[in-house]
């Protein structure tokens, strides 16, 4: 087994290597504790750190930990885990290949085998769709279909097709952007086929590890984890309610409760909520303050949580459902929607509403 395959276990050559070696998955999970341990680590790191961690020193263990990790993710079968895991594998691969591709010749010679750009593009059927610009180092043109396949809905304004100098069916990208595109292709490759259907024997063998992943996921307290306020990424129902509040329209009690509880869950303080609501003049600050305090359990014994989609639907507060509502979060919980949008967005592009406010105040002062 080659070091290259261990570094990039999603490559088709890596999969072939595992197959050729005649590795039996049920035997592997029963006998190779190192591969299982590293597989678990991949998944745990994916959830908590957003990468799959440092490679195991033994190539074989590192390579075989990849199928183990995929099995674990499939056994837990939570949408958020699938997404985080695929993203983490992609981020790790991206870190590795960007370093390899930009390393100096001297450094490269120490590697026995390395991935070159052409191989990487060919692996994801990108070779025919990515064209180097003659005479311009590090400049490429990507066929528009390929560009959209990998970038649509992913990153900020600069990536939107409408802001790109599209001409003759091709989108210019630079070296860094090209590698991000490949990162996205890796993510798709990793996601592909997940969740796998796992035979009972293997599932039983991995009971402890599966439980461990569930614990790690449960520890991810959504309410504390989010703590980012980007109203543009709110689910349609909450955007709708917020719009109404800000326009000064009357909200029924359950609607007012829903938006206040949602905002509390994403980490907003009572003061901040009051401030966000206060765009309209006919706004009852005291009532809002009381209600928000009540929801967060400060003036009542119970801490209320934001209503799930089913509750929103029964009160008629579920409006403007979109694809994410229906297909991604399966109409489960508005917080899942929001978390998904945050997850999909590029962290550097996100501007927390609270930071924006501060900036404005600074401007006013200056």
């Amino acid at each position: 087994m080659k070091a290259l395959h261990a570094r990039y276990p999603f490559l088709s050559a890596a999969r072939e290597a595992v197959e050729t070696a005649g590795v039996d998955l049920s035997e592997l999970v029963a006998s190779d504790s190192a591969a299982v341990e590293r597989g678990l680590e991949r998944v745990e790191w994916a959830v908590t750190e957003g990468t799959v961690g440092e490679p195991h020193r033994r190539t074989r263990v590192e390579l075989l930990s990849y199928p183990v990790a995929r099995v674990l993710v499939s056994l837990v079968d939570e949408h958020i885990l699938l997404r985080r895991y695929a993203r983490a594998e992609a981020v790790t691969a991206y870190d590795r290949f960007s370093e390899e591709l930009t390393a100096t010749a001297e450094f490269q010679s120490t590697r026995t085998e390395r991935l070159d750009r052409q191989d990487l593009l060919a692996e994801f059927d990108l070779s025919g769709h990515v064209h180097a610009v003659a005479g311009e180092d590090g400049e490429y043109r990507v066929d528009v279909g390929t560009y959209l396949e990998h970038t649509a809905g992913q990153w900020g304004d600069e990536w939107r097709l409408v802001n790109r100098p599209l001409a003759d069916g091709q989108v210019p990208v630079d070296e860094d952007e090209l590698l991000l595109l490949v990162r996205q292709a890796v993510r798709r490759r990793v996601e592909d086929g997940l969740p796998l259907s796992v035979p009972d024997a293997i599932a039983t063998e991995l009971d402890d590890e599966t439980e461990r992943v569930r614990d790690v996921l449960a520890d991810l307290d959504l309410t504390r984890d989010i703590d980012t306020v980007v109203p543009d990424l709110f689910p349609p129902c909450m955007r709708h309610l917020l719009d109404k509040v800000q326009k000064g329209e009357h909200l029924e009690h359950h609607s007012r409760f829903a938006i206040a509880a949602f905002l509390t869950s994403i980490g907003m303080s009572t003061d901040e909520i009051v401030e966000l609501f206060q765009v309209n003049p006919g706004f009852g600050e005291e009532a809002t303050r009381y209600q928000v305090d009540h929801i967060r359990g400060e003036t009542s014994p119970t801490e209320y949580s934001a209503p799930a989609c089913a509750t929103m639907q029964s009160y008629g507060d579920c409006v403007n459902k979109d694809d994410i509502c229906e297909d991604v979060i399966n109409e489960s919980h508005p917080l899942n929607y929001y978390e998904h949008r945050l997850e999909e967005a590029d962290e550097e592009e996100l501007v927390d509403w609270r930071d924006g406010e501060e900036d404005e105040e600074d401007d006013d002062a200056g």
Binding site: H129, D143, V144, G145, T146, L148, E149, A152, G153, G156, D157, E158, R160, L161, V162, N163, R164, P165, L166, A167, D168, G169, Q170, P172, D323
Partner: protein
């Protein structure tokens, strides 16, 4: 619509289909087919989830059934006749664009005549084709008059077949200019600082060779060409007509147009603040002038059913006409989409909703009541629900 009217139209649609040659779309057997029959009652029910296998050959089916409306799917499936989308197993979809006069901002409903609406729709079609041909570089396109109030473009290039909804929405936003942000459109290029001179770390450029950047640049260039052609005083006077442009800015712009025009050609926004200022102004209005206001859900829906070119539109009696690219400029739907079958006869109709009708280059103003009219006019009125069949 009364029974005798319905029976008449269905019969005459049958006559049309006996003579018509219908070219089915590529991969017709992988597509879902649907139609709306001439049933009575207020609700129209579409018969759908049909495969070509269910219908038999298209021309034979149309002759037998004589439907009111006929559709096929943009999508291709493993099993096109399965009753639900998930059972159909989607493979690929054409990228379809729908321009409908009802949705055009330039159209004033209730004020513009049908002919005027269609003319504005064709202007939008030409703008759409500009995007599809020049920007997207699409080559396999079918353009069709919808038979009603607009135009359809079916794109069948291989590169877009597998795109999902989200990617298609990016295409929609592109041709509509939605989300176009000036700051995101411009490029930054690092420039080396020169000795003894304060130089910005980056120069900002407007892309000149593609996208909305090119559209903004073309206008910027035209504006500066104007300025260049004027003498200083005339230019300064003209420029000051813009909001926020004072004499100082105007003189700066004129000087650049005279001495550093090449910077404008290059799209160099850092040449002078006034250049960027003008470019931003243009960016704010370019979308309104250049966008193609297509109907978003049609393009993003990979399972959409679209009218089959060559069939008749049951709400107008006009043909859904495929238009060659070279013929788009001269295409007049109110002449070219009138089926020959209905030309050269006269029929009696009872007009229930009169007014102006323009077809085949003639215009008729009909009052309510019984009239003998050319058949194509009668069919149009009956199909639109503005007349009933008169006694023979």
């Amino acid at each position: 619509m009364e029974e005798r009217t319905r029976a008449y139209l269905r019969g005459r649609f049958g006559d049309y289909y006996r003579r018509a040659e219908i070219t089915p779309p590529p991969d017709a057997n992988e597509r879902e087919w649907g139609y709306i029959p001439w049933t009575s009652g207020p609700g129209t029910t579409m018969v759908r989830h049909k495969s070509l296998l269910d219908l038999g050959d298209i021309e034979g089916f149309l002759e037998r059934e004589r439907p009111r409306h006929v559709y096929f799917s943009a999508g291709r499936y493993d099993d096109p006749s399965a009753g639900s989308m998930s059972e159909k197993h989607w493979r690929t979809s054409d990228l379809v664009f729908d321009l409908d006069a009802d949705h055009l901002p330039s159209v004033t409903l209730g004020e513009d005549s049908y002919a005027e609406m269609l003319a504005k729709c064709k202007d939008a079609l030409l703008r759409l084709l500009d995007f599809l041909e020049d920007d997207f570089g699409f080559e396999e396109m079918t353009i069709a008059f919808s038979g009603g109030r607009g135009y359809h473009v079916h794109v069948r290039d291989p590169g877009i077949q597998e795109l999902e909804r989200e990617a298609r929405r990016e295409v929609v936003d592109y041709v509509r200019g939605m989300g176009m942000e000036f700051d995101a459109v411009i490029d930054e290029e690092a420039v080396g600082g020169e000795v003894g001179r304060k130089s910005p770390a980056h120069n900002e450029y407007l892309p000149t060779d593609g996208g909305w950047g090119r559209r903004i640049h073309e206008r910027l260039l035209a504006e500066f060409e104007q300025i260049k052609s004027l003498d200083e005083d005339a230019a300064v006077e003209r420029l000051q007509e813009y909001d926020g442009v004072g004499e100082k800015k105007a003189r700066a712009a004129w000087n650049i147009a005279q001495d550093r025009f090449v910077e404008i050609e290059r799209g160099n926004l850092s040449a002078h603040p006034v250049v960027k200022n003008f470019a931003e102004r243009i960016a704010a209005s370019v979308v309104e002038e250049d966008d193609a206001p297509i109907d978003e859900p049609v393009t993003t829906d990979t399972n959409r059913l679209i009218r089959l070119p060559g069939t008749l539109h049951g709400g107008s009696g006009l043909a859904v006409r495929r238009i060659d690219r070279d013929a788009v400029d001269d295409f007049d739907p109110l002449v070219d989409a009138v089926p020959d079958t209905f030309v050269g006869h006269e029929i009696a109709v009872e007009v229930t909703d009169g007014g102006l009708i323009e077809l085949l280059g003639d215009s008729f103003t009909l009052s309510e009541g019984e009239h003998t009219v050319p058949e194509h006019v009668g069919v149009f009125l009956m199909a639109r629900g503005r007349a009933e069949k008169g006694p023979e």
